[in-house]
């Protein structure tokens, strides 16, 4: 909980990780990728305030204690949601798996929700393992990487019939929050890997599921917003937006927040600190203090209200994940959440 000027903010960090990218965990022969990946993440940290930058060795692997301190002791986070990133091709025990996240969550009961993942190319065996993970860790969400290479396959699409089977299974198991990574990726090489049209397709077909597009589709915010206005169950994950822009590029942060409020609205934006790329403390405090600057180029965008910030920082995610919010931190929530957008003429 964060309290400022008499207002109490319930904070859900909907995008966190517990990873091991230390050299001992690099797959022999894949060291360049393993090293390049974590160094790339580390460079993103450089977009945050200088006093929050970590040395690379701490960034490669951090302790339980440090994570608990950064999120819950000083970071104002009430609940954090793990989003796995397996990357077993580069890291021997995986980079940030459901299992390591789940073990961390079990060591600290009541603090974390554990999301898992699936890959429709793993067929029936993958389906069984997926169901076991969901039951073992009580998962209410998944994080999907549609652009991941596997053997001869250069990524997959949510439109694939195999993916539909998994999404049906999600509905059956109550895994209702589908986080889709559409941010920077590598393969397939000849396509634009950020295409969100498959999310559009499944959001229509699976009305009982919520689709949270991570990093708001950055660097294709325009395609994402355009799609999101047409689907009532599509949400924007703000990881990278707050961490990567609020400090380093405040004017673009204002423009992006303005656009997201304009096209999606206050009920569809989900805060995530993206730890350990960025610590939540400065993001939560900075976002509560932030507002739309007076600037001609921003004249289409009204300032954010306290109630809107409360929704973005935690209440929206609490709604999607059925997280109990203390009564004094709630606001009047809408019965049905519809996208905003702009009507013709």
């Amino acid at each position: 909980m964060y309290e400022k000027d008499g207002e109490k903010y319930f904070v859900v960090d909907a995008h966190t990780h517990f990873w091991d990218a230390s050299p001992q965990n690099w797959v022999p022969g894949q060291e360049e990728y393993a090293k390049g990946w974590i160094e790339c993440f580390h460079a993103y940290q450089g977009l945050g305030p200088k006093e929050t930058h970590w040395p690379i060795d701490r960034f490669q692997k951090y302790s339980d204690e440090l994570m608990m301190h950064d999120l819950f002791e000083v970071g104002h986070v009430d609940k954090a949601i793990f989003q796995p990133t397996n990357l077993r091709q580069w890291y021997t025990t995986g980079f940030n798996t459901t299992e390591t996240d789940g073990a961390m969550a079990e060591r600290h009961p009541g603090k974390f929700l554990v999301n898992t993942t699936f890959d429709p190319r793993e067929g029936d065996a993958g389906m069984r393992a997926f169901e076991e993970r969901v039951k073992r860790y009580g998962c209410k969400g998944v994080k999907l990487y549609t652009a991941e290479w596997r053997g001869d396959s250069r990524g997959w699409s949510l439109k694939d019939p195999e993916a539909a089977r998994y999404l049906e299974k999600c509905e059956e198991l109550g895994v209702k929050n589908i986080h889709v990574h559409k941010g920077p990726t590598i393969w397939p090489l000849d396509k634009d890997a950020f295409d969100v049209s498959d999310v559009d397709h499944v959001a229509t077909n699976f009305q009982g599921l919520n689709f949270i597009v991570e990093h708001v589709g950055l660097p294709r915010i325009e395609d994402f917003c355009f799609m999101a206005t047409q689907e009532r169950n599509v949400y924007a994950g703000l990881a990278v937006v707050v961490g990567g822009l609020m400090h380093a590029r405040p004017k673009f942060f204002a423009k992006v927040m303005g656009e997201l409020m304009f096209w999606l609205g206050e009920d569809k934006l989900i805060f995530g600190a993206d730890y350990a790329i960025w610590e939540p403390k400065w993001q939560v405090e900075g976002f509560v203090d932030w507002n739309m600057p007076a600037d001609d180029e921003l004249s289409d965008f009204p300032p954010l209200t306290t109630a809107q910030k409360k929704k973005i920082l935690g209440l929206n995610a609490a709604r999607l994940y059925d997280i109990e919010v203390p009564p004094e931190m709630r606001v009047d929530a809408p019965e049905a959440v519809e996208p905003v957008g702009v009507p013709n003429s």
Partner: protein, 240 residues
């Protein structure tokens, strides 16, 4: 590629740099020289050596390939340049890209088995985004000059005061084969080239603004990452 050069012309650093300034990051629609992507440019005795750098080790290889190949073409076309070397540094696919560009072998051949298509349609998609973003820039200036928002759908390119932004917008439209003459409408669908009806103008302009925001935010992240990766770059010219 064989270029016929006038051997009496001596190429210098400035002419090669100017050529590099015509090469854009297709995703950001900004010149490589402004973005700080040119790490080294040396010219001596008709030989140009250029090194490019990008914000991350994992920047998209398709766009990286286009930039290295475009830079090669631009530099090789400078009068007096007889030998051209353009290489990308510090990138996971640098070897394949550099080999492919040096051999003039195209994207698919450079990434055998990993890519099925050349990059023309990708480039066109991003030019269409550049047209939308440019439309927002131009329309904001037009409104600031005293025009009414309701006038925009009826305006032609020739009726808009000439600025750097309008010339840039026309150039992008010409590249796509879209109408770009004085009598053509200011607001067009960047896919079909058809004029935008008055009833759809509000939505069109909101989307143009959004597209510009997206490209500029993306550019902001890229510039920020480049500075983290190559400290000291702020001091270099034009990397604002």
């Amino acid at each position: 590629m064989t270029a016929i050069h006038d051997r009496n012309v001596r190429a210098d650093h400035a002419s090669v740099w100017s050529a590099l300034a015509t090469v854009r990051d297709p995703e950001l629609d900004e010149p490589l020289t402004d973005l700080g992507f040119v790490a080294r440019c040396e010219v001596a005795a008709g030989r140009a050596q250029v090194e490019l750098r990008l914000p991350t080790y994992f920047c998209a290889p398709n766009f990286a390939f286009l930039m290295v190949a475009d830079a090669y073409d631009a530099v090789a076309a400078v009068p007096g340049i007889e030998e051209t070397e353009v290489v990308l540094q510090d990138h996971f696919a640098a070897e394949a890209i550099n080999r492919g560009v040096a051999a003039r072998s195209g994207f698919v051949a450079s990434f055998e088995g990993e890519a099925a298509d050349e990059l023309d349609s990708l480039r066109a998609d991003f030019l269409r985004k550049a047209v939308l973003a440019g439309t927002d820039r131009v329309c904001r200036a037009v409104l600031a000059a005293g025009f009414d928002a309701d006038d925009l759908p009826g305006l032609t390119l020739g009726e808009v005061p000439s600025t750097v932004d309008i010339e840039r917008l026309r150039a992008r439209r010409r590249e796509l084969g879209l109408p770009a003459a004085d009598g053509d409408p200011l607001l067009i669908d960047p896919g079909s080239g058809a004029g935008v009806a008055a009833g759809n103008a509000k939505r069109h302009l909101a989307f143009a603004r959004l597209t510009r925001t997206s490209m500029e935010a993306n550019s902001g992240v890229c510039r920020g990452m480049l500075r983290v990766r190559y400290p000291g770059i702020e001091k270099e010219e034009g990397t604002g």
